[in-house]
Symmetry: C2
Amino acid sequence: MFTVRTRSSDSRARTGTLHLRHGDVRTPAFVPLATKGAVKTLEPRDVAALGYELILGNTFHLLLAPGPELVEEMGGLHEFMRWDKAIVTDSGGFQVFSMGYGGVADEIKGRGRMKSGGPDPDGRTGAILSIAEEGVRFRSYVDGRERFLSPEASMSVQAALGSDIALVFDECTPFHVSREYTERAMERTHRWLERCLRWHAAHASPGQAVYGIVQGGVDWDLRRASAAVVASSTADGIAIGGSLGREKAQMHEVVSWTTAELERLAPDRPRHLLGIGDVDDLIAGVELGIDTFDCALPTRLGRHGVALVPDPAAGWRVDLVKGRWRESRETILEGCRCPACATGFSRSYLHYLLRARELTALRLVTLHNLWFIARLMDDLRAAVDAGRLPELAAALRGGAVPGSVANVARGAPAPGIHGA
Amino acid sequence: MFTVRTRSSDSRARTGTLHLRHGDVRTPAFVPLATKGAVKTLEPRDVAALGYELILGNTFHLLLAPGPELVEEMGGLHEFMRWDKAIVTDSGGFQVFSMGYGGVADEIKGRGRMKSGGPDPDGRTGAILSIAEEGVRFRSYVDGRERFLSPEASMSVQAALGSDIALVFDECTPFHVSREYTERAMERTHRWLERCLRWHAAHASPGQAVYGIVQGGVDWDLRRASAAVVASSTADGIAIGGSLGREKAQMHEVVSWTTAELERLAPDRPRHLLGIGDVDDLIAGVELGIDTFDCALPTRLGRHGVALVPDPAAGWRVDLVKGRWRESRETILEGCRCPACATGFSRSYLHYLLRARELTALRLVTLHNLWFIARLMDDLRAAVDAGRLPELAAALRGGAVPGSVANVARGAPAPGIHGA
């Protein structure tokens, strides 16, 4: 289900194609989130027009509402949400275990603290009732009902959703736990991997690919052991999950350990990096041999009025809510052909709309961010194919504009009105 | 600035064209609200693709934020919001006086009560500081600052915004006041009309048209007197404002009195009915000789998950939030080619998205509603031109689907995916 086209001679970077039931996906690729069955603020036609070929739906959220039975009855997630390209579903492990550890991403990424209850920063209550070898019992944030997720249950939900790629159910551990805890969770994840693959082989539709997940926290030997177990399994692809450390340097190191092992043990299987989407991490991830990435960042930032721009010193971000843009005639990014920039919306207008809480603004910044990331990935793929990734990576890290942001794509609006 | 094409022999209905600085507007037309400089949830390209040629911006809200100085500095409202077709701005009179009377539309439409302070149903505080012949002093809901609107101030703001049509500043009275109060307010409105026209003649850009406003509440003699005053002025067009009564029958009667007078006194000037947009009221309004209508209804209903459908018994509405749609495979409206229906989104999916508070759903129902109203107006225009308005009106009142909803328009998506 994966063919490699070009392997870089300078790094583990590579280009390829995922051959999925709902079409091909050119890699390396970023995968926007359609957490609850919609890319927030956008329609499927918008996402396709931006050039995306794969989106990610969330097993945990879709299990709770509207429920896999309804989605299946409606013909599966593709038909339900009217998206005819590929979908990957995560397993729900990350969300379930995040409930026990508090702030979802923060804790996994080492920024939070373990917690035993009370509302998390998203206003949810840590609602794990029990964690056992069989699976995890928890309380639904939608209706308060007791629910259960296990390797078999997760694969069954993903079969009902009909995704092109299912992820195995893993025990996702945060940064602030002991090596022993991480190791025990990793070993359980390996046992759950086998249960997932067994269920999948027996019950899932043949066209659905399944990815194993490498755990092991920030320990080199655990990551190596986990990579070996997943590589030796029948999983079609391999995802990298769990805690990747407290800082970016550590994260890149952990990813590098893992992809080095995978390059040795499973060089032809696709690799997905879970939950990572900062611009610098995408560049580094491609260099380290990652094929696909998913992350809430571009869409979530968009809804907070933060736009992605080629400004490494500013974290590749500009906060349009800030007062300094009140009178700015600039578009978000000079020369950018995203639906917001090509139409000519000024930072001044976007700033005003964001302050006025107009929903149109959330959509416009989301469109820009997803356009920016899609074109960045276009450029990274082209550079790998041309043997020029080091030059492009250096230029991007120096603040160069991804050349493809100036491309005119299908679905893009005509040149700005008033001849601008 | 207005040419009549066809006058119906069965009623006061007529078709025509408004010739405005930013293009022609075919009438009768519905005018979507871009209250704060954006049609909520949509981009300008969406509004144009739906077929709209005129939108309404709100002087009161744009005065408070971002302020006419900024909009003017940015090149005017068209340039600021990147809409190159026509814009009408209301005068702010309705909003300013609504602050004193409580719930904006409720009170004007006879459903509320006069109030002296405290938050209104929209959470705002009645913040009028003084009403005098010179103008109205009030407190801004944005920053608490004292602000002032008068005939000259309103026209000056509208000149800065650069709208194609400006409305005169009027004293807008609610239903629950005495005839004497309504009469005094009407007479002030007439004096303010002259001040507006004087300011406009001296200062406004020559390309901006200006509409007077007929007041007079629900009294036949006051409406007649007001129509005569406005018709005898130099206003380019005539709007009908103020309280139109407690029930639809009374509203239609008040509109009929007024258009009968206007037909006699100013047959060639365009007529706008302020704040009315129910489907049955649009049909009745066209029959009564109204050329343009503005209303928050289609967009506001859309954001509440209520879709417009040809079901007169249900008020031409279906509430997609209701549980009965949980498993419905139907689109909003069979055969409809709006971006939501043509893509094939089921009521089940929209219901789920609305319950999950996904912003995509607000956009989709808004697109459907504005499509439905635009096509309804297409059909009404065609029927007037063909001399078949009575037949069409009867059919629509009997629940017939406006034929044009099945049209394929520019900007509409390709046929639904999966061959649906």
